[in-house]
């Protein structure tokens, strides 16, 4: 962690820091799920459109 952020983090009262770390981790977890969900959709699509040729 960068020193400036570490200093800021250290100045936050303990209960608040605990709450923030849980909230932040939860949000990061949800965002990771969101990204993975999209990636699963996107990699399943063909890389090129279906080109229709009448037969």
């Amino acid at each position: 962690m960068p020193p400036v952020l570490r200093k800021f983090w250290d100045q936050i009262p303990a209960p608040t820091a605990t709450l923030l770390s849980h909230a932040g981790s939860l949000v990061v977890g949800i965002l990771t799920a969101f990204v993975l969900h999209y990636v699963l959709y996107r990699i399943g699509l063909p890389s090129k459109p279906f080109i229709y040729v009448a037969f």
Binding site: M1, W9, D10, Q11, A14, A17, T18, S21, H22, G24, S25, L26, V27, V28, G29, I30, L31, T32, A33, F34, L36, H37, Y38, L40, Y41, R42, I43, G44, L45, P46, K48, P49, F50, I51, Y52, V53, A54, F55
Partner: protein, 411 residues
């Protein structure tokens, strides 16, 4: 000897800033699981509503032509929004001919078919460009067999065209979706063929990954969620198929169905010399495979070709669904067929008769159309103009009504 003396670690406590973790791994994991669960639940929920309330068919901006792959959930909702439980459901599958390529949305042949059949029936167009009879629309109809037990499925083929039970590669994403969501009937020939398809040595890894994706999607509903997002919010990436580059990210449900209107397209733009040359070759080959003249001078299908065709017809649809399936046999435009020698015209007619007899042998209904159509009923070699679509609807409607009576749907 070493002068190093181990020192006790300093005591830490929750109040000690240095001991405070910035990340909480278990909370992060909980968030990840919660997020996936929320996305899956949302996908499963939103796909139950009709994403395309103004569409009469899956036009290119909501089809694989533009890298948009409709899901089973999406197409099932499309059907539910257009058919009441008291109506007889008529699902039109098949290829671009039945999709109505060349006919604008307000004059597409399935609208005319709906007008002829009346309110007792609900006609839903689930045909796709280049699709086979056993692709998308077929799987959707099969998946709705209990919800809409009074249903008729229509698709088209050329004479003696094989209809593979697992569809064609371009639309196999629909089979994966339906299969791994458990929406299909057990049907041994199809199950066996799909198993062999998955195990094919050359593509084993790619198909295993695809299977894995479909199994994950059955739980996580990512295709449902992101199709809902793409249709109603914004599309997430640019594709080469765009009416305008500025609209690359536009929500797909906002695009209009802008099908080419063959009625307004001049003849010489539709029938250029190169198109005529190519389509003449295709027309001449319409019934070429497998036919030879017998001792009496009549066209006869080789036994091997007949067996192959019959095997495909027998396996194409599960047995319980065969009686409610109407196969239309498409012909070429008389602009081309009238130029054929009488002998080739006779061969085509023999092939069409054999095709009808082959499908009917296994309990399907079958009908050819186009023998009395004029050149102006076709916009090109195979696709119909509005006038041709009207004639197709008029030819098909009595067969559908007869089928509905025969199946006891009108009691």
């Amino acid at each position: 000897m070493s002068d190093f003396t181990p020192q006790p670690l300093p005591a830490t406590s929750a109040a000690d800033p240095a001991s405070r973790p910035f990340f909480r791994p278990w909370t992060l994991l909980a968030g990840f699981v919660l997020g996936l669960g929320l996305m899956a639940w949302t996908g499963r929920t939103v796909i139950q509503r009709d994403l395309h309330p103004y569409a009469v068919r899956f036009h290119p901006m909501i089809a694989p032509d533009s890298q948009y792959e409709p899901t089973m959930g999406e197409m099932r909702a499309f059907v539910r929004a257009r058919c009441r439980p008291d109506q007889i459901l008529v699902i039109v599958g098949g290829n671009s001919i039945l999709l109505g390529v060349g006919q604008p949305a307000d004059r597409v042949w399935t609208k005319r078919l709906q007008e002829i059949l009346g309110d007792r029936y609900a006609v839903v167009n689930l045909a796709f460009r280049g699709s086979s009879p056993t692709d998308g629309g077929a799987f959707v109809a099969e998946s709705l067999r209990d919800e809409f037990p009074r249903q008729i499925y229509i698709a088209n083929v050329a004479a003696l065209q094989a209809a593979d039970a697992i569809g064609i590669e371009s639309y196999r994403f629909i089979l994966f979706d339906a299969y791994y969501k458990g929406l299909l009937l057990p049907w041994a020939p199809r199950d066996q063929q799909f198993k062999e398809y998955l195990a094919a040595t050359d593509y084993k890894t790619a198909r295993f990954e695809r299977r894995l994706g479909a199994e994950a999607d059955a739980v996580l509903h990512f295709r449902d969620f992101w199709n809902w997002w793409s249709a109603t919010k914004f599309f997430t990436f640019a594709t080469p198929y765009q009416p305008d580059p500025n609209l690359a990210y536009r929500a797909r449900a906002k695009f209009k169905d802008e099908e080419t209107d063959y009625d307004t397209l001049p003849f010489d733009q539709r029938f250029t010399p190169s198109v005529i040359a190519n389509d003449t070759i295709i027309t001449r080959a319409y019934s070429a495979n497998g036919y030879a003249k017998n001792a009496q001078g009549q066209w006869q299908l080789a036994e091997g070709s007949r067996e192959q065709f019959l095997r495909f017809a027998a396996n194409a649809f599960p047995d319980p669904l065969k009686p409610r399936t109407l196969i239309l046999i498409s012909r070429n435009s008389p602009y081309y067929t009238r130029q054929l020698e009488t002998d080739l015209q006779t061969r085509d007619e023999t092939a069409i008769s054999d095709t009808i007899a082959g499908w009917e042998k296994f309990g399907y209904a079958a009908l050819s159309y186009g023998h009395d159509f004029a050149p102006e009923d076709f916009g090109d070699r195979t696709h119909l103009t509005t006038a041709g679509g009207t004639k197709l609807a008029a030819a098909t409607a009595p067969k559908i009504q007869a089928l509905a009576t025969q199946l006891g749907y009108l009691k």
